[in-house]
Amino acid sequence: MKHAYDHYLSQTAKELQPSGIRKFFDLAATMEGVISLGVGEPDFITPWSIREATILSLEQGYTSYTANAGLLELREEITNYLATRFGVQYDPNNQIIVTIGASQAIDLAFRAILNQGDEVLIVEPAFVSYAPLVAIAGGKPIPVSTSAANGFKVTAEQIEAAITEKTKAILICSPNNPTGSMLTKDDLMELTTVINKHDLLVVSDEIYAELSYNGDFCSVAAMEGMYERTILINGFSKGFAMTGWRLGFLAAPKEIAACMLKIHQYTTMCAPIMLQRGALEALRNTYHEVESMRNSYRRRRNYMVQTLNQLGLECHTPGGAFYVFPSIRSTGLSSEQFAEELLVQEKVAVVPGHVFGESGEGYIRCSYATSMEQLQEAMRRIKHFIETRKKVLCPTAAQSTIQS
């Protein structure tokens, strides 16, 4: 007899929606010859010197726990990095925690700040895990939709309209996954007034900070009056091409950091020591490789934005990350239909925009973290897909009668 498990499971866990990306992955994984623009990670392999430093640390026998917050040496290096690169000053002794990817840092942040029913504003379209993590921590995710008309940048009015007396924090991810949009210093300035006025905390996911293409990235924590209310989250995954390492970090006011550290020490103990030692090498000696990868992405971005616009899939020029987020409304299809038909007919995988929130409907996410040869072929296939559809939609009168 089948055992009933429903009553064992937590209500919160049961209510979590499985990621919409999963379904797509399952479909694409069964097909041969697929060009994927659906990958949310660099196409570069981690720079060799980082891998080499990690191998060396294993050879030397670094296999123990580290301090809960991470190796002090690494926290010092992170502090230097944040200061020189983004102009924010932290104390390595009590303000930095090395985490298992930026994802764990976000989890820690919500668990440390949320009481049952507290609301967190999530600027959408957004990375798929923010809302579930808020819910797991007992909070209530409140989507704040942005629009293409404004380059998917959130405005002070949109934030103001979503605030209630229960609003505790706002999650901002800039440069953004999936839209690639980036908030400049001026954009942020506009938001700080309303954030201050309502005494909100900011959970700032800055994982794509190294991938900003106009050199105008600004950390939320560097904004006047924001340092005290910002939990800065960053990591090695995107800029240093270290996704599979699961190594991130956070920086916060020391009272908040202390609270997060308690949760971190009970759930995780610490990040793996050999990977932390690899990260030391990353911060010390590989910045030129980050720059060269950034240049490569920037060129591919230029190619993608112009080509998609030429194909009639309108998109803004993203300031950062490695995604373009074109509108597919001109095709008359929903995001999901477009992505599914494109995959089946042309074997190009993209991610339908609606999985990143309601305001993502009508858009698709295309990652350009893949070779130019693949991108060119993908664009040829998308062009063919659109032209074929046009023929179906606007055939001669006789054909359209048959169609209907």
Partner: protein
Amino acid sequence: MLLSSVELEILKIIEENHKLPIESIALMAMCSEDTVKKTIEKLEDEKIIISYPTLINWSKVEGQDSVIAMIDVKVTPKRDVGFNEVAERISRFPEVSSLYLMSGAYDLSVTVEGKNMNQIASFVSEKLSTIENVVSTTTHFMLKKFKHDGVIFNSGNDDKDRRMVVTP
């Protein structure tokens, strides 16, 4: 020669991949196709772009393997012209595939390619060492190429895309 930022951008794009079509290069560098064409012509005229060689792993082609030797050459420099005259003389031999002036224990590093060891031996004894001002030669035969011009040979699956098809 000082290049504009667009010219530099074009140069970097084709350094990485010279097979990209002009249209793609123009989109990547954010300029017109005409600019790309003119820039490439100009850089070729200025001998900044020298040639577009193809890197071939001949050792994988049966019956086509060659022998490569790197020869350290000591030279007496000449008044007024230094090493230039003798270096130019050596560089004209078609067997010589590269030639560099070096600091350290010897002066010129000469790479020579031949069909077999005998060919290289006769090049060294008959041509290279008989040149006036060549004091001595030390010949090292290359046993295996692991990396050439930044490219790892026989890298196996190292550059295979191991990522999943769709990730958040």
